[in-house]
Each structure stands twice: as C-alpha cells, then as structure tokens.
C-alpha cells in the first residue's frame, strides 16, 4: 500500500451577469442633512460583503468619505427594482447603477458648491468629503455643508438615481447565435493531491489558483470568495451529494451526518493571485467573481487523482469507494 501523489489542472471562464442579459438593477442614493449618503438597493447581503463593496464604489464615485456612505439593502419599499443577487451580477450590474447614481450626486454637489464658492463647477474637485477649488487648497467647503446648504438654502434635493441593464439578447433558435454576457472572467487552478491506496482517501495538499477579475474592488472580500470557493469545490469533488445512489432516491441525505462537508482541518495550503484587467463594461473595470472561484476546483482535483492513480473517475464525488474501485480496475487491467 502506498500514498500516490498527483497534480491536476483546470482552466475556466465564467460570464458576468444573467445569461442573455435583460436583468436590470436600479438604485437611489439619498443625501441626509447630516451629510451622509444612503445607498438604497434591493440587492442582498448574505456574507459576500455587498454593503462594503457598494459603499466603496459610491464613496469613490462621489468623492465622499467612506464612513459617510451607508448601504441599505433588501427592502422593496425603500429600494427600486433589482433583479436579484445571483449570477455574479451585483458588483457589476448594481455597481454600475451605483456609479450612475453617484455621478448625479456629484453633479449636484458641484453645482451647489460652485454657487457657494462662486467659481465654475468645472473648476472644482471633490476629494475625501471636501469640495476644493482646483489649485487653491485653502478654498474649500465640506460635502456635509454643501448637502446642508442644498436643502436649506438652494431648494435642491441631493438625490442620485442609477440604472443599469444589459439589454436582453435575442437568440436564434436554429443556431443558438446570441450575445449572452457582458464580459468573461477567467481562472486557472493547479492542485496537488495525495491518494491513500489502502483507504481510497484523497487528501488535497496544495491549491494554486489565479483568477482574472477585471478589478478587485475589495481584494480582501475577493480572498474570502477564493478560499470559500476552494472549500466548496473540495466538497463537491470528494464528498457531497444528496443522492448517493443517484438517480435512485434511496439513501437521500437528510442531515450533516449523511452529508459530509469539508471542515477546517481539510483546508489545504492555498496560494492565489488576482490578475486585474479592467473591463469597460464594469464599475471601475470590475467583473463578477463570486461563482467562478468554485468552478475550477473539482476538475483540478479529479485530474490530479487521474495523474496519481492513472484512472479517470468521471462521476462526482470521488469517494474512497470509487477510488478503491478505480485502483482495483487498474490492477485487473481494465483501465
């Protein structure tokens, strides 16, 4: 009995946004008298960090301080229509809508500030919560004061509205000709595994991943997606299915006793790198990241096991039982 090592590769691409488009996102940003900006979206915060990313985008596009931007989410009463938080679409689609809304806010701020400072709007710039006369650092006014004056003296609501949609592509029913996506993100994962020929257990030793993401608006949150994607991909590769006898419905998993997820002790050594290649279609060049990071993992693991044992197992998950059968197949010369 031995421990066999192998290395596997998988290269992938993944479309950003709903397939074929036609998935609008809208937002309304409302400035408060205290100088804060409330970004209202019907998108959902589910751990991925949407509130943080959209706040970064809005603060950047307005010129506001990050702490003065608050994203409120998930309420159809306060936020206009959004298609939903899926299809790696929110940073891209809602991000674009937030940029558009922020630009309207910015135009209003510059207009009011130009009257307050008695200069033309094009001679002004907004940085970190202050409006400056370009080249004259001591002539400035805070964004908070501009917002306040707009409402109380200049009779102007400081509200920005933004909308983004990739128009729905037609599909030729005879050839499938269509324009399905805004942009493609890319990834490549290389995995090293160790296969125990006695138990059939596959251990993932190293994962090397590179993802091309357009722009990482928040590299820390992208890292969260990358690491989570690796662990979820390992589960798909090695242990997870609700129908172990698929397509039969016997032995259907009903609890975490029957359905084993990878845990902290299974996390391999991870090295990753992001490639930035801004897409003209996305906010500050961002592409969708949340989904593709899971897609490159399982095929790289299965290819690594193929490299280690010389048999390609084609049905997920590659449980110890399947690995032992494959080894037996190889010994008996059927592989």
């Amino acid at each position: 009995m031995a421990k066999l090592r192998g290395r596997g590769v998988a290269a992938i691409n993944y479309p950003t946004g709903m397939n074929l488009g036609g998935d609008p996102s809208q937002t309304v940003i409302v400035a408060q008298p205290d100088g804060r900006f409330i970004v209202n979206v019907a998108s959902i915060e589910m751990g991925q960090g949407l509130r943080t990313v959209l706040a970064q985008i809005a603060a950047e596009a307005i010129g506001a301080r990050l702490e003065d931007v608050e994203v409120r989410f998930g309420d159809t009463e306060s936020a206009p229509h959004d298609t939903g938080t899926f299809a790696s679409r929110t940073t891209h689609r809602m991000g674009n809508a937030v940029v558009a809304a922020s630009q309207e806010i910015r135009r209003t701020l510059l207009d009011i500030a130009s009257r307050m400072l008695e200069v033309r709007p094009e001679d002004l710039e907004i940085r970190e919560g202050r409006v400056y006369v370009k080249g004259v650092p001591d002539r400035s006014v805070s964004v908070k004061e501009v917002v306040n004056q707009a409402q109380f003296n200049y009779n102007t609501p400081v509200v920005g509205k933004g909308h983004y949609v990739k128009p729905k592509s037609p599909v030729d029913p005879e050839t499938g000709e269509a324009d399905p996506h805004s942009t493609m993100a890319h990834g490549c994962t290389i995995v090293d595994v160790e296969v125990d020929t006695e138990t059939g257990v596959v251990r993932v030793l190293n994962v090397y991943s590179v993802y091309e993401v357009g722009r990482a608006v928040n590299p820390r949150l992208v890292e969260g997606q990358v690491v989570g994607g690796i662990v979820m991909g390992m589960g798909a590769a090695l242990t997870e299915t609700v129908y172990p006898k698929y397509p039969l419905i016997e032995k259907q998993a009903a609890s975490f006793r029957d359905y084993v997820l990878p845990s902290a002790g299974d996390v391999p050594k991870i090295s990753y790198k992001l490639i930035e290649s801004p897409t003209p279609t996305g906010p500050f060049g961002a592409k969708g990241v949340g989904e593709m990071v899971v897609n490159s993992i399982a095929p790289a693991i299965v290819n690594a096991v193929y490299d280690a044992i010389g048999v390609q197992i084609t049905e997920l998950p590659i449980t110890p039982e399947k690995v032992l059968k494959a080894l037996e197949q190889r010994r008996s010369g059927q592989a």
């Binding site: 751990g47 985008i57 950047e60 298609t83 419905i249 359905y259």
Partner: protein, 452 residues
C-alpha cells in the same frame, strides 16, 4: 490608464463583521410578532402519486390548530415563475390539487399556535394517494416508453417555442436547446483522433448556515409584508402577487441579513405558501424549514450529465466538438431552462473550437426540483470540459497545460454562440498559475498572448 483610487482596490473590512460576531445582526429568525402562527407541511411520502382524498378533520380538532391550508386556498395556484425570466409553462402548483411529483412535496400546510402543535397536527392529516410509477433516471425519462410526467407529453422542456425565456414565441420547438457553428461533420471527417467522454455531477445541496425562513404579516388595506431570507426580493414580490392576484406594489418584501445563499435562495420556493397561509388566517405566520427539509425539499444543484466527442488533429488542436448535455430539473421547471441555455453556450470552455454541435436537454424526473447553485450551468460544464481536455491531451500525448495553451481562445475569434471575443485572458491566467505552482512551461508558451 491607471488611476489612483481612494477606496476602490482597498482591502476594507466587511462592515457586517462586527454585527455578526456580536450577535447584533438581525436575521429573519429574530423577527417575531404578537399572535404569530407557525406552519408545518404535510409532505408526500412517495415520488409520484395521484391525490385521492385529504382528510383534515382529526388534525383540525387538535387544540391550537388554526387552519389547514390546501390548494383550494390559493387564488391562482399555477403561474409563470419569476416574470423577469418569463420561463414557462406554469407546471408547478403552490399546493398540489391533483398529483404529487416528488417525495417531500408539500400537500397541505398546518397553521397552528406553535411549531410542535403544527407538527403533531400534520401527522394527523390523512392523505390517500394512488401511487404512480416514478421516473428517476434522465436517460430513461427521454425514452418513448417512459411514464410521462408532464402534460405536454414528453419529459423534457420544449426549447424554441417561447417558453424558455430566450427564443421567440411561436417557433417550431424541440426537446433540446441547440448551438451549432461551422461544419462539425467535416471536422470529424478530417480529424486525426476522436476522443469521447461522459461525465456526471450529482445533485449537491447549498447547505447554508441559515435554513429557509419566512414570516408574512398581513397589513391594513389588503397589504402584506414578507420578511424572508431570499437572494431576490423582487422575485418574491412578483411571484406572491401573481399567486394572490393582487398588485405587486401592495407587497413589501424585506430581506435582512441572509445567512448564506449560494443560489439556494433565488427561487421563491416557499414564500408563496406562507403568504397564502397568512392571508387565509389574517395573522402573521412564520415558516422555518428544518435542516432535513433543506436537504430533501429545497432546491439542489442539478445533476448534469455531459457527453463529449472531440475531433482532434495531431498538432494538438480541437477542430470539432459534439456535446449532449442532460440537466436533471427534478419535478418542476423553476429556472432550469435558463440553466441549460447558459450551460450550452459555455460548452467550449475558454477554448476556440470552430465547429460545434451542442444539444442541451432539460429533463424532468420525480425528484425535488433543482435550480441555481454557485456557478449555475457552468460549474458542471467546467467540470466536464476540463476532464475531457485531460483525456484529449493524453490521447495526443501532450502536456496538460501545453494542450490548453494551444486551444485557448484569443481576442478576435468567435465563441460557440457567435459572439466576438474581446476579453480573453485564458493564456495569461494559465501562465500565472503555472508560475505560482512552479509548473514547467516551454519557452514558446511564455511568449503566447490572448491578443496575438
């Protein structure tokens, strides 16, 4: 041109973190109302059966039971799911009136003072079912002698007739989605090698920390507020409006922090039932799925089987590919035709294959409905493509990455669906991964580029 950004590109901490670790974040489970009632479902014990009789009398007599909700309480029981997707036909009832099509399908709902009473009452509801032969296997489902579980006479979705949310209405229609380009027969005729493979991804559960949970509160003036763990509040609003026959603007959907989704909370799969129950009793009603319901009833990643046949030259190029994809939709349509179309568009992976013929079937079986899960449509495709690439490389005798570099798509080429490629980065991404893993690459690969 590179700009200096103030916030974009900065590793700002997730603003939700502090609330999560201190327990301050509000989830739907934290939302309670005075007089709130609870739901438990009476579920089908069989994968397929005709409903002969539902006797709720014993359950109704149990103290604390307020109402048993059945199909009769649903104003518009069948509707087109998710208006924005426009996918039909409306094959799934909110609550079944004639037959059940998967084990665990909710037949009726007990609304009671607390969860324990509701569960006890659910066991007292007598449902008489005439068992029917189920279809579980996708290949078997497509055979002409298989039991037919769909009203239109075939256990597959009809693409091309306007019900797939993509192609124009009034078309011919066929039981698969088709993408073809170039001339695949000619490519196979001049191939040096032909390599086949068949790959299967089974159903996988999203397994979020927080199971499905929803509370619906009737409001004055015929309005209602739905607090739910969803990824798509407007989907919920549109679907509930459709099944209650009320204007969507009378419905407010609130989704506070969601405890993980991974695609499993995209379909409004239970909010409609809670809304019907709340409207029927005129009180706030909550439904909290158990982990068992999460595994056995909630949507799963679809099982997808993909068969490839590649035409290769001895120079290591893929000149043609045939693919047949079977996508297990489970008992009902949900978003599956969307998933199939997305999958079929991506069957070339990040590679340039000039001649392709791809067929994708959305197959119905008597299993819990499948729907979106992280990487929807493409997770299974990436899996199959990358296993097939390995098979192809070995057949020709080329290194794994060398083979992928030779076939990687470049800017200016067209995709399987005829889209001009202008954002190719496969070569650069593979090269960086090789560097990271100290994977040796030949010098000519280091000089390649997606724009050359």
């Amino acid at each position: 041109m590179e700009h200096e950004f103030s916030f974009v590109g900065k590793p700002v901490a997730n603003v939700q973190l502090l609330g999560h670790v201190t327990g301050e974040t509000e989830f739907v489970d934290d939302i309670v109302f005075p007089g709130m009632l609870w739901i438990k479902a009476v579920r089908s014990p069989v994968p397929r059966g005709r409903i002969k009789r539902i006797d709720t009398s014993k359950a109704e007599r149990l103290p604390g039971v307020v109402k048993i909700v059945t199909a009769r309480d649903v104003p518009n029981n069948y509707h087109v799911n998710m208006a924005v997707l426009g996918i039909g036909p409306p094959d799934e009832p909110v609550l079944p009136d004639k037959e059940v099509n998967y084990k665990g399908e909710a037949i009726c709902l007990v609304v009671a003072r607390d969860e324990e009473i509701a569960a006890k009452a659910a066991r007292l509801v007598e449902v008489e079912l005439e068992e029917l032969p189920p279809v579980l296997d996708m290949e078997e489902a497509l055979r002409p002698d298989a039991p037919v579980i769909k009203s239109w006479g075939v256990n597959a979705h009809i693409f091309g007739s306007g019900l797939d949310g993509a192609t124009p209405k009034g078309g011919q229609g066929r039981p698969y989605f088709l993408v073809k380009r170039g001339g695949v027969e000619a490519a196979f005729a001049r191939a040096d090698y032909v390599v086949e493979g068949s790959y299967l991804v089974p159903p996988i559960e999203h397994a979020p920390i927080e199971p499905h949970i929803c509370v619906v509160k009737p409001e004055p003036g015929g309005r209602l507020t739905i607090y739910t763990a969803t990824q798509a509040p407007y989907f919920v609003r549109d679907n509930v409006a459709a099944i209650l026959n009320i204007p969507p603007s009378r419905i407010r959907v609130v989704s506070p922090a969601v405890g993980g989704g991974f695609g499993g909370k995209v379909d409004p799969e239970f909010e409609m039932q809670v809304a019907v129950a709340a409207m029927a009793v005129g009180r706030p009603v909550k439904w909290r799925w158990t982990r068992e319901e999460e595994f056995t009833v909630s949507t799963v990643r679809p099982a997808v089987k993909i068969e490839f046949k590649d035409a290769l030259t001895k120079d290591g190029l893929i000149i043609g590919r045939r693919a047949r994809l079977l996508h297990d939709s489970g008992a009902y349509t949900r978003t599956s035709p969307y998933g199939v179309i997305k999958a079929v568009f991506n069957l070339s992976g990040p590679y340039y294959i000039p001649n392709v013929y791809y067929q994708g079937y959305c197959v119905y079986t008597n299993k819990q409905p499948s729907s979106a899960m992280r990487g929807y449509g493409v997770f299974e495709v990436s899996y199959a493509v990358e296993l097939q690439m390995e098979r192809d490389a070995r057949k020709i005798g080329l290194d794994s990455l060398e083979f992928r570099f030779r076939n990687a798509y470049r800017n200016g080429q067209v995709s399987a669906s005829g889209k001009m490629i202008d954002d190719a980065y496969a070569i650069e991404t593979m090269r960086e991964a090789a560097a990271l893993a100290s994977y040796p690459l030949s010098a000519h690969l280091l000089r390649m580029s997606s724009s050359g």
